[in-house]
Symmetry: C4
Subunit: 373 residues, 4 copies
């Protein structure tokens, strides 16, 4: 018996993290926790109220088990896909997140570089710390623009036109935030987003503060389906509705040709909103492939990606994880996080016997721990 060991896969030695390097997304979180100021980490980590939904999003994946197919007889797994006409190397998207500068001086430009390096589509937030023009000028990969509909509809129209002009390939309209959820970590930390004071994209606008206490002075609480129609006409881009959890809302979106982004805002708005994965199957059934279905919330492992796609999503979006990467290593950190998740996804696909994303079908997934003797 000897203590000596040799690497079984030398070629992996170079692209796999070693020693103290992050092995998985949780490691990136741990690294970010060490270097970020508490208030910034808490802003990223926290959710509304008691943070049940934050937890549920994550746990939903751990309640499902996989039933892999064996002896499929093929080599390797390919993650290529196409979403709203954009060909992508992988079905992993970056969800919108406000104020990247809070996490790294490279801000959204760094994220965009990392995303492009990893072949991941980025979604730029209305409350980005750089303007859509700045980001669009530096981005080498595809990106979408996330929109909070402003009370000032002329301003809203200007925003989406600017995003389209800067290169955005779709407009993701957030529909789950008529009011902003109360995130008690931020209140306890006395934290508020710099972007809410002077968000780059709105630097020329004077914020109003004449509305009710629970309402954001800028974000319009009275957005309707017709607003989405008008926005699509204004920007000439595909439009996705982000924040859908009900099957009938998904059906209405699909009927109108809007993409469906299944989200509960990462548990940051309405605590005890249903876990996104639990809402996905009914939504996918109603959409029936007519428009793309994206799902975010709680995805931390390649097997999570496989489950989401098996249950009807066309792509997944990650939020907190890539910001951990950004905080830890700027563009390289973003790239590494995406690549880690993508490699795990490829591995999980191979292990369930799937050669392409189309092979990820619902019969691969069963409730964990259920047993009927």
């Amino acid at each position: 018996m000897t203590g000596t060991t040799v690497a079984s896969t030398p070629q992996a030695a170079t692209d796999r993290p070693r020693g103290a390097a992050p092995l998985n997304l949780a490691d990136y979180r741990a690294a970010a926790l060490k270097i970020l100021p508490t208030a910034a980490f808490d802003y990223l980590e926290g959710g509304a109220a008691d943070e049940h939904t934050v937890r549920w999003n994550h746990e939903a994946y751990q309640r499902l088990a996989l039933l892999p197919r064996v002896l499929a007889g093929h080599v390797g797994a390919h993650t290529g896909c196409s979403v709203f006409g954009t060909a992508l190397d992988s079905p992993i998207l970056l969800a919108p997140a406000a104020s990247h500068r809070l996490f790294h001086p490279g801000a959204e430009a760094a994220t965009a570089h990392g995303a492009a390096a990893a072949g991941a589509l980025m979604t730029v937030s209305t409350f980005s710390s750089q303007t859509v023009e700045e980001i669009g000028a530096t981005a080498t990969g595809p990106w979408w623009f996330q929109l909070y509909v402003q009370r000032d509809r002329a301003l809203t129209a200007e925003l989406v036109r600017r995003a389209a002009a800067a290169g955005a390939r779709a407009c993701v309209v957030t529909v789950d935030t008529p009011v902003t959820g109360v995130r008690e970590r931020d209140l306890r930390n006395g934290f508020a987003l710099p972007s809410h004071g002077t968000p780059a994209n709105l630097a020329h606008v004077q914020g109003s503060s004449t509305h009710g206490a629970i309402h954001d002075p800028r974000i319009d609480p009275a957005v309707g389906w017709d607003d989405l129609e008008r926005l699509r006409a204004v920007c000439g881009l595909p439009v996705l509705a982000k924040g859908i959890l009900r099957a009938e809302d998904a059906q209405r979106a699909a009927d109108a040709g809007f993409g469906v982004w299944v989200s509960n805002h990462g548990g940051r708005n309405l605590d005890t909103a249903a876990a996104t994965l639990s809402a996905l199957p009914a939504i996918a059934e109603r959409v029936a492939g007519r428009v793309p279905v994206i799902v975010d919330g709680g995805i931390r492992r390649g097997t999570d990606v496989v489950k989401a796609l098996a249950l009807g999503a066309d792509a997944v979006a990650i939020g907190r994880p890539y910001v951990w990467g950004l905080a830890v290593g700027g563009a390289d950190g973003v790239r590494d996080v995406v690549q880690t998740l993508r490699r795990e996804t490829e591995l999980a696909m191979a292990l369930v016997g799937a050669a392409t994303l189309d092979d990820l079908t619902a019969d691969l997934v069963v409730p964990a721990g259920v047993h009927r003797p």
Copy 2:
């Protein structure tokens, strides 16, 4: 990247707790724990036996998830409602609790002032530390009287007549206490209610102690439906039966025109009695809107209020939380607790896409964590 932050909603800065101020009801509990004598806190906090029901009441809300509607296209949420002919600003009631003086020298008068300031209906206990006349004289908002039917029915009739004369708008007859539950915290603390020695409303009555060990000397264990009929005739007020968990009991109450108060006495009487929320849907179905349905037990968040109303309650009642507020800040504390819960309710309504309480329908609520691939 800068550490400077600005408040996104300046108007909120003045009406939201800041720093060490309580942000939510749990914070009020923590503050009350610090200042109340152990025996008083335990009396409030504790329940019967192993306190399963105390816990279940709370957990029942956390087992349900919300499926919000999006793009509803309206502004804000209104919590106005009417219960048994009394128009209320919000569907949040104060449940009866004995001996407020145990928690604050201002006693029930302080509670009444706080309730009125927050637009909440108060329920005054038979075992209040002030008389109904004292409370009625100072109360500026609507209030109900809670009745333990006394062995002496003449005394009972006198009590409800006095309450009606003092301004009570309804009589809430407790029907779940033929005997008092054993609260072991109180026994271990050697604690007994001052009110049970000389409750203000019964100061002129000599307590009897000739009954069985498990029976209270005054409270009648043999109350029947006909007693409720007679009481209604005596006081001329609407009568509610408080402590109903079975659908057939609710049906009988509704058939007779009595309001239905779904309660297990806060888990203080029969341990392992069903959680009130789990009993609510079947009850609401039988009542079918004929009489008001109130539910108490475990409500700590605005989303709890939304769920209770979505599942058929016309209003909710809180007990321990407002007493925490009373202990911490007298009338202001009561007001702040109610306002905190009401603000959370408005926020939750807006986030589920409800403009009025009528929009809170059962399809908003699904079991959490259930997933059918």
Copy 3:
């Protein structure tokens, strides 16, 4: 506000434990833990293997909730019942337990006195530390004899004849112990029952040790239904089969007129045997009232008794709890434990609206935490 308190129910002050006195059965366990040698406590407390069934027995009660009936309009609750022709004050029996002298020098005689004082029927173990003649001579209340069928059937017949002659009113044949379970606590403690060396009832018999390793030298692993028939003929007493968990076994017992004792030997024989309460409803359905149904395992509260009876048991048996009482206070301890549980049962009956045991029907019980919106 004053810290002074007065007792609400002075008459209760004398018969309720105060201060450090035990309030409930768990308190008796804690007291026994303090005074018993570790090996004796562990022998009593432990179960087979990983002790899942020990835990499941207990948890089964906590997974069921009660739906009390209100306004029943009667006073008090009576626990009188009749089992196999013996009128009993309460449906609480003492399950057989070996070697009471291990826990108190008064041994089985002390237990018998305590049981009689509390109106509880006692079951005397084959492996009692006193003979059936000694126990029968001192017992003032009704008792049954528990039989392990011996390999020597003549000896077995002699045992039950002696028990009948000594006053036993029924013979409880243990049917769940063809072999003895491995209790690892005992092996780690190097503990073995004194009774297994020289059990009083078998003092004149020389134990054999020529059987397989997993078999007890005396207990017969090959007992059949015909043995029960023969034993009944031999002793002329009602016979109960103790250790039934399957509905078809219960049916066969009832068809033959044997009482059904639902038990998994307190989790001491087959780990992961089903919790007794979970097995009860199907058994009660098959028995259909033809013979008495007893259930033991995990009963610690009056609400547990109520649930067991509501789900079809005619009586319950407690084991570990009365031995805690015996260890703590001899006959008085046994009496106090039974009275505590009985008082809790009366209280629970009153609170669910039951005047007699016949009022305890299955509709009082629902799964805890189940909610169908």
Copy 4:
């Protein structure tokens, strides 16, 4: 009352562990933890990613309860069975595990001796630290050969021919490892199998490293059903497919006459793969007795063996537990682990009323904790 105790079953005193000796498989694990280097213990203990499946495998057994039959009227329990024509003393097999030398200098030869002493069939890994010739020459009991299909099919054919020539009675083809799962414990420990450098059976082969990063340079990711057919023809032995979790894969195997080994590779490849026990019933139903069904994963107690066989397995395989035994005591340790589990199995069979393995039927098993009042 006396502290003296006597052994109840003297004959057991010699073959049962005493004092600090291991009583059960968990004890062997604890002992192995003490003596193995961390990296070796972690390699054995760990699984893929978050190790959910490792845990689920184990927990699946604890979610099932047993409903024993009583008064079966027979003596003792026999565990004899026959698998693919080989008569075995017990249905306990040793699953393949790489590099036994890592755990004990006696390596696979020691394991083979221990297995034979306990009457258990051993499965030799492709990545054994001794050659099949060395193992076959020393093995006195039956053994099978586990095959990872190599990219070089000529080499693969040579391997199985060598195994057959060395005495293997069946060929177990691993079908769940097109790629190797990421075991993060090993990465953190900087651990890689010595065998992966120079596995004994492949010492004459030069490893290739021209494949993708997620693929092992030798193991072929593109194995199909036809490969199994060819292998069977080459080696002339019965072939089992190891790593099946889906009923349709089991059906295809059975249709072709391949044995079905239900496995998720001990949770080491695809995390959140379904627990093997939860997959077993549907598989057993499809196989319908046509070929042997083996199940591994999480078996630690005799009651686990009983449950697996009751739910349709013909035999079970243990992995980690026998390696604990090997680490602790070489051949004797392997023997002791198997004998401990076998003795527990016999005991459990006796306690559920089963005389032979054929008596272990599905009606003995019910979900734990389920209760329908």
